[in-house]
């Protein structure tokens, strides 16, 4: 910034959206505002994989594995894919890692900017819609193989419950009940969640469920990383309640992961869900 006086556009009353301001003042900084040559760019950049989220009584948990892949190569072992979006929400990313991380940064700034200018936070649905708009702007790049598909979860202070939103590449926004997963290992993770999820989970048990689900995803999907025992790399787990969001300390995730792995030593397919059919009755 060469001229130290505030530019006139900064002093002009207008939108409280940082993205709109950026589009006006520095459009080149927007992640989606980039011209790409023809052809697929899918193989150029690392991809992030599985994210799971589940609600419990009084909050929501989101967790992601730590692997980024480029084709058959593991591009990074300890990438972070679950980020706090603001105090009461978190966003997890699947798809092109570079674009997704930039989109998360823009989304974080967007929420904080609105909060500072308006003096109040956006509603949960408002936040989900803003994320939707960011993804929609990325459609052109998604069609060339650089898709970003996030999962958004947070504690809705008005509804007093945890809520989860999933998206498609066109910006479609879908509210999920109870649990959801995105990314290459999401089918396997969702299968595990279906069998392990209970309505009466507390925060601690809910964390166990998502770590189990990530283990199952890594078990069957080569692009999802399981707990790395030799390097002590474990999933990123974000727990959000009415008191705000916290990332669980690596030590406590490690404890849960060790416990999960100990169980898998006995039974590699994980805990067996109970059958409630009439045969045993």
């Amino acid at each position: 910034m060469t001229d130290s006086r505030l530019p006139a556009a900064y002093l002009r009353p207008g939108s409280s959206s940082f993205t709109d301001f950026l589009a006006e003042q520095a459009p080149d900084l927007l992640p989606a505002r980039r011209g790409l040559p023809q052809g697929s760019a899918a193989e150029l950049a690392p991809h992030a994989t599985t994210i799971v989220a589940a609600t419990f009584e009084g909050g929501v948990v989101m967790a992601g594995d730590r692997r980024a892949t480029m084709g058959n190569v593991i591009a990074q072992r300890d990438i972070q894919k679950v980020f706090p979006a603001d105090e009461f929400s978190a966003v997890g990313i699947a798809g092109t890692a570079g674009l997704a991380v930039e989109m998360v940064r823009l989304f974080q700034t967007e929420l904080e900017h609105y909060e500072k200018i308006e003096g109040t936070t956006l509603s949960m649905d408002g936040k989900a819609n803003r994320l939707s708009a960011l993804i929609r702007a990325n459609l052109g790049m998604a069609m060339q193989g650089l898709a970003v598909v996030p999962l958004f979860a947070g504690y809705d202070l008005e509804a007093a419950q945890g809520r989860i939103f999933s998206y498609d590449v066109t910006g479609g926004r879908y509210e999920e009940t109870a649990f959801h997963s995105v990314g290459s290992g999401s089918m396997f993770a969702r299968g595990a969640l279906k069998k392990l999820y209970r309505d009466d989970l507390d925060a601690e048990r809910c964390v166990e469920v998502v770590v189990q689900a990530l283990y199952d995803a890594a078990d069957d999907d080569s692009a999802t990383g399981g707990p790395d025992l030799t390097r002590r790399i474990f999933p990123v787990v974000q727990v959000i309640t009415e008191n705000g969001g916290v990332r669980l300390a690596d030590a406590s995730v490690a404890e849960i992961a060790d416990w999960v792995i100990a169980g898998r030593m006995e039974r590699p397919d994980g805990p067996a869900a109970e059958l409630t059919g009439g045969a045993s009755a």
Binding site: F21, K116, G119
Partner: protein, 303 residues
């Protein structure tokens, strides 16, 4: 065509300064106090929605007195500047000094340009560091001057009375409740028409209090203290029953009783003299100051 009457640059600047100062003196004071864990802002502001103290960035806060629309404009510009810089570089690259500099340039340019009315505002930009020695309070005046304040700073209506009270009692490294008690007592310490000091206890509902607290776990260190929290922090205070503030100066936009009396019907009503600093009261034309000494015409010189 009528000749614009001559106003000397000194007089022009003085008039503009008087105009801005008068606008600022109408408002109530804002106090910023450094304490052990950061910087505390206290102001008497019955409105719960129109803030005088706000967050700019992780470790930077903004406080202002004067005309609301003008400082709100500056605040939003500051948030945009900080967020833009933090987004395009990194969160650590947003500094209070850079922001204070941008404000100073903006206010200074507006003050000295003939075309715009000077902003009737005074601003604090405060930034906290990792320890008290790295804390900064910048004070910016309507003409773009920057001062680096140490310990405490006061601006607004009765700034001198409040500052004198703080000067006597301020100690560095106080705890939050001590600093808050001192700041609130200082704001309640005013002088009446005869210049005699009088103390009153300001109700917690009328206080706007915010802190930059370096002990907060989140990266964003700014937090507002709500009346319930203030009640516990302040504890039993005041020698007597709370004297409610003068009902006249509770309404937004009205002057406190000690400010220069202003007659809105009379545009020439100025304490500094009979000439309006901004415009000719009859024609509404802005005063045009010709250059103090016109250079002699020189036809022989090169183009």
């Amino acid at each position: 065509m009528s000749m614009p009457f001559y106003v000397s640059p000194e007089q022009l600047m003085k008039d503009r300064a008087d105009f801005a100062r008068k606008g600022i003196a109408r408002g109530r004071s804002v106090v910023a106090v450094q304490f052990a864990d950061g910087v505390l802002f206290v102001s008497e502001n019955p409105s719960q929605a129109l803030h005088k103290v706000s967050e700019i960035y992780d470790r930077i806060a903004f406080a202002a007195v004067g005309r609301y629309n003008e400082f709100e404009n500056l605040r939003i510009a500051g948030v945009r500047l900080a967020d833009m810089r933090g987004y395009s570089y990194d969160r650590r690259d947003v500094t209070g000094r850079g922001l204070a500099n941008a404000y100073a340039q903006t206010l200074g340019t507006i003050f000295s340009s003939g075309g715009e009315k000077p902003y009737e505002v005074e601003i604090f930009v405060a930034e906290i560091g990792d320890d008290p020695s790295a804390d900064q309070i910048y004070r910016l005046t309507y003409d773009g001057q920057v001062a680096d304040e140490q310990g405490f700073a006061v601006m607004g209506g009765q700034a001198d009375v409040v500052a004198a009270y703080l000067q006597e009692r301020y100690v560095a490294g106080a705890s939050l409740d001590e600093a808050l008690g001192l700041a609130v007592a200082a704001l309640g310490h005013t002088s009446n028409e005869r210049g005699e000091p009088q103390d009153r206890v300001i109700p917690v509902e009328d206080l706007e209090v915010a802190v930059l607290d370096r002990t907060r776990a989140q990266p964003r260190k700014f937090v507002r203290l709500r009346p319930a929290r203030l009640e516990t922090l302040l504890g039993g205070r005041g020698p007597s029953t709370p004297a409610p503030p003068d009902p006249d100066d509770n309404a937004p936009g009205t002057g406190s009783s000690d400010a220069f009396p202003d007659d809105p019907a009379d545009p020439t009503d100025q304490t500094s003299g009979g000439v309006s600093p901004l415009e000719d009261p009859l024609t509404g034309a802005p005063p045009v100051a010709p250059p103090p000494v016109a250079p002699p015409e020189d036809d022989s010189g090169p183009l």
